[in-house]
């Protein structure tokens, strides 16, 4: 059934901007806080108040536009989007309608080794609404509802893609790339679990080979890549079923029920709001000077694609480069460590293995890792110069996470320095060889594996502190003389 159709999808992404203050007033944008404490007359929309645009919001929008290859408008303005909802204190949202700050642009994605360019239609600025807290499940089934206006007026960017996405994988890859880019240019915290990035997914199906667009549905307010994947899979299946049975998809807005794993109709096209957009008379139109755009362009940090490219040139595999550049914080960690430890492949192994594993186990982000890039480099240098073995290194990094102490300090304190002293090792080797005659016999009979067992015994005797390479060498010499 599904094979008969081609998927056409587009996404609207709402990302909260990481400005210190709200878009039209001086209130903090900090997440959390006692309810209705991050508010003032302006964001509460009290009678008589007026908005004053936060310049940082415009700068972040410009930065985003540049990172997404958009054109930055020379002339832009705000408009009012009028609709009634109790989380919207003015009953209109100050947004942008026909003259958004960024037009056009694209993002490059890669799915199964195939590169594809996804078009960006526009990027615009707007204010967030407040949060409703219901006594029951929904506003219509509750006796009482409360409004928390702390989020009201937090700046948002809405990034609208072209309907260029042809699969669930492409859609998720696009969103990952977009979020990664916002993270890299540091315009948004991208904290998905706090809802600082939200996705509206538009999907339609059409018979394979057709170039006409099918009727689409829009599912609003998804907040994780996983939900996007599940929601799209469900919605595609649902539409395919309707179409296969000769029915018609209804153009409507739908909502995703995470618990039940299904989408539900929210409102049809006929019931769609007439937002009655008109220019916001309380703000003057913006003339965006080209020098400003150029200044922002000059300060634009390295973007994920070029960073990944750089790691590939260092000899990392595509997979490793992808993982390390997946977040800016991790990529920066890697670069900083590489500054002090010059073997990128070994470093990548450690970062992706023990380091990320320990972070994940502790549930802390890279930025607040107790092990800093210099610390990891110090540890790896100890392994590389033979002071400790790789195996000891793994226990040392664990200890570093626990105690916050440096690698050298731990090695010294615990006497973990590798035994590279031939004299000290000879005695132990003699002892091991003498107490394992069978292994010696096996080795002499050509069973190469037997030497592994003997090395293991030596390591055990030295509590892992022996230099394994040296043990191997000395053992071979010993056995050959027997």
């Amino acid at each position: 059934m599904l094979e008969d159709f081609e998927i056409v999808a587009g996404v609207e992404v709402h990302a909260e901007l990481a400005t210190k203050t709200k878009i039209f007033c001086g209130c903090t944008t900090e997440f959390g806080g006692e309810q209705n404490t991050h508010v003032c007359p302006v964001c509460l929309g009290l009678p008589g108040v007026l908005p004053v645009l936060n310049r940082q919001v415009v700068e972040y929008a410009i930065k985003t536009g540049l990172a997404l290859n958009s054109e930055i408008a020379e002339f832009s303005k705000f408009d009012r989007k009028n609709y009634y909802y109790p989380d919207l204190p003015k009953n209109f949202q100050t947004s942008q309608y026909d003259l958004p700050i960024c037009l056009g642009g694209h993002v490059e994605i890669e799915v199964d080794g195939v590169k594809k360019r996804i078009g960006i239609t526009r990027v615009h600025m707007e204010e967030d609404a407040g949060k409703l807290v219901h006594s029951g499940a929904t506003i219509s089934t509750s006796d009482v509802s409360f409004v928390d206006y702390n989020r009201t007026g937090v700046p948002l960017l809405e990034i609208v893609s072209e309907p260029d996405l042809r699969s669930v994988d492409e859609t998720v890859a696009y969103l990952e790339k977009l979020v990664q880019t916002l993270d890299y240019i540091e315009v948004s915290d991208c904290r998905m679990e706090q809802g600082s990035v939200r996705f509206d997914i538009n999907v339609s199906l059409r018979p394979k080979g057709s170039d006409k667009l099918g009727i689409r549905t829009e599912t609003k307010n998804l907040n994780s890549f996983g939900s996007v994947r599940r929601c799209m899979e469900y919605e595609i299946e649902r539409q395919a079923e309707v179409l296969s049975e000769g029915g018609q998809v209804i153009q409507e807005t739908r909502t995703w029920d995470e618990g039940r794993g299904i989408t539900l109709s929210l409102r049809s096209k006929e019931e769609a709001h007439d937002y009655r957009y008109f220019p916001e008379p309380d703000l003057v139109p913006m003339v965006i000077e080209r020098e400003w755009v150029e200044r922002v362009r000059e300060r634009l940090p390295e973007l994920p694609d070029s960073r990944r490219e750089r790691l590939l040139e260092l000899g990392l595999s595509a997979y490793d480069a992808g993982v390390i550049t997946s977040s800016k914080a991790l990529a920066e960690f890697f670069d900083a460590a590489l500054d002090k430890f010059k073997d990128p492949k070994t470093l990548a192994n450690w970062v992706m293995g023990d380091f990320l594993g320990l972070l994940k186990a502790k549930g802390i982000p890279v930025q607040s890792s107790p092990v800093k890039p210099e610390g990891l480099a110090e540890l790896l240098n100890l392994v590389e110069n033979g002071t400790i073995s790789g195996k000891i290194g793994k226990s040392v990094i664990g200890e570093m996470f626990e105690s916050g102490k440096g690698a050298a300090e731990i090695v010294k304190e615990k006497g973990l320095v590798q035994i590279s002293d031939t004299g000290a090792l000879s005695g132990i080797i003699d002892k091991v060889v003498n107490s394992n005659p069978q292994s010696v016999t096996d080795f002499k009979a050509g069973k190469e594996r037997a030497i592994g067992f003997l090395v293991g015994q030596v390591m055990k005797e030295t509590k892992g502190q022996a230099n394994p390479g040296l043990v191997n060498k000395l053992l071979k010499e010993k056995l050959e003389t027997m």
Binding site: L50, P89, F92, P281
Partner: protein, 488 residues
């Protein structure tokens, strides 16, 4: 001497010379209020205790021998659409009857800074929508010149309070003539400044792109003094102009020789009361005698000003007033049930008929499918009206017309016919669309009722308006005539 009849600058002189004290002034004005307010009904609320407390601080200053600012210790009041921290601000609407702002409008802070003493808040047409103050949800303010007539609107309470000597001056707001038309009806001086000259922060919006706060005073000198206190850039208002304000009293020059005055003939069309026409012609002759060069001119798009205004203002109002929904402040209809009913009932019960009419007009004009034909078209015509003014000002320093086509009308005379009511703003509305300043000054009487002379100037050229007004005032006696209220 009756203190309440004096202008602000005269009162200031008395304070400076220690011939009167600030508490004495406040008491005198409240005595006057007690005497006439029952007839005039200009106020929504009084702030007597606060006023006396502030006045005694001014007296302390006087006792210490300190000098006072020009408006310090002068009793005044605000139209009830300017937010006053801790004092109810209602817009004369049931929906905001319980609203006590947690902050003050910039103009309120500016006048507090200047040391003026607020006596209370003044009645108005609900949300400043109307031309007679009959749309107030609370009271009918009467014209002090004839209690059976309206004071004009929407700043009816503000002008009546000045005209009846209940305050020395007041602040009003003007969206389509709401300062000037009532100023004409009640024989006071009313200035609508250039859009962006006075901060709108804390002015409860009717139509954001047209609203402007301005002074209502007993003479032109006071008008300049109040402008000195309230004009200037406000970082809290993005539409406030980043211009330096001059000393407006420097424009109080008794000389109009060589000044070019244009008389747009479209402002003297059908509907103008013949007696008003006569009074205005006399005023023109007076200005000519004083040396001004007067010439008739044409402003071809004037006839489109009313329809343009009645698309733009309601459109903005429909959005500005959407916030009154009963959710977090103001009137909430009891036992509404669900949220949609709460919205609907609160608004249905909270707003009066004129406000509802304009919300509906505006909602319609902005609706998809109608936007281009109505709102967008109106914006384009607005540009043409502006161009009319730009062209006229290439030739003239100011333009002159009657402020209103008729003198004050009787209660109920126009309230049944919204269109007839709207037409009383026909001379004042184009000015708001163009964003330019205009003043109404007393220039005579028609049937015993005051007539206002309407002078329109270039943007940010309030100076020339004040100069012409001052010259006219210095050479006439109209502003000195008082309504008979107090001596009945």
């Amino acid at each position: 001497m009756d203190l309440t009849q004096l202008t602000a600058h005269e009162l200031s002189d008395l304070l400076a010379s220690r011939e009167a004290g600030a508490v004495e002034l406040v008491k005198a004005f409240f005595a006057r209020i007690d005497q006439v307010e029952e007839d005039v009904k200009a106020f929504n609320i009084f702030t007597r205790d606060r006023a006396l407390e502030q006045a005694s601080k001014v007296d302390d200053k006087l006792a210490r021998g300190e000098e006072l600012g020009p408006l310090e210790g002068i009793p005044m009041a605000f139209k009830d659409n300017m937010c006053t921290k801790g004092v109810p601000t209602t817009c004369s609407s049931k929906i905001l009857k319980s609203f006590v702002p947690p902050y003050s409008a910039t103009v309120v802070e500016q006048l507090a800074q200047a040391g003026s003493i607020m006596l209370g808040k003044l009645n108005m047409d609900e949300f400043a929508m109307g031309s007679s103050t009959e749309n107030s949800a609370f009271a009918k303010t009467c014209n002090p010149w004839d209690l059976e007539r309206v004071p004009g609107g929407s700043s009816g309470g503000a002008v009546a309070s000045v005209s009846a000597d209940e305050v020395a001056f007041a602040l009003g707001s003007d969206t389509g003539g709401s300062i000037r038309q009532p100023a004409a009806f009640c024989g006071v001086v009313g200035l609508k400044p250039t859009y962006g000259y006075v901060s709108r922060f804390g002015l409860i919006a009717f139509a954001s792109s047209l609203d402007q706060i301005g002074p209502l005073t007993k003479d032109v000198t006071d008008c300049a003094l109040v402008m000195n206190a309230i004009a200037g850039h406000d970082p809290k208002d993005s539409t406030s102009a980043p211009v330096d304000k001059p000393d407006f009293t420097k424009s109080l020059i008794n000389d109009v020789k060589g000044l070019r005055i244009g008389i747009p003939r479209e402002y003297f069309g059908a509907g103008i009361d013949p007696e008003v026409d006569k009074v205005i012609r006399q005023a023109i002759t007076k200005l000519e005698e004083l040396g001004a060069v007067v010439e008739e001119c044409s402003m071809p798009h004037t006839e489109y000003a009313m329809p343009t205004y009645y698309l733009i203002a309601p459109a903005e109002c429909s959005s500005n007033l959407a916030r009154y929904d009963g959710v977090s402040y103001g009137y909430r209809a009891p036992e509404s049930g669900d949220i949609v009913s709460m919205f609907k009932k609160s608004r249905a019960e909270g707003f009066g008929p004129e406000v509802k009419r304009r919300i509906m007009l505006g909602t319609y004009a902005l609706s998809s499918g109608y936007y281009d034909a109505y709102y967008l078209k109106a914006l384009k015509v607005r540009t043409l009206i502006k161009q009319d003014f730009d062209q006229a000002f290439e030739k003239f320093d100011i333009l002159l017309s009657p402020t209103a086509p008729t003198p004050a009308f009787k209660f109920g005379e126009k309230s049944a016919n919204p269109l007839a009511m709207y037409l009383s703003d026909i001379c004042t509305v184009p000015v708001n669309l163009a964003g330019i300043p205009a003043i109404s000054i007393p220039c005579g009487f028609a049937g015993g009722l005051p007539v206002g002379l309407h002078l329109m100037g270039k943007a940010f050229d309030e100076g020339t308006l004040l100069r012409v007004s001052y010259t006219f005032e210095q050479n006439t006696e109209f502003h000195k005539v008082k309504p008979s209220l107090g001596v009945k």
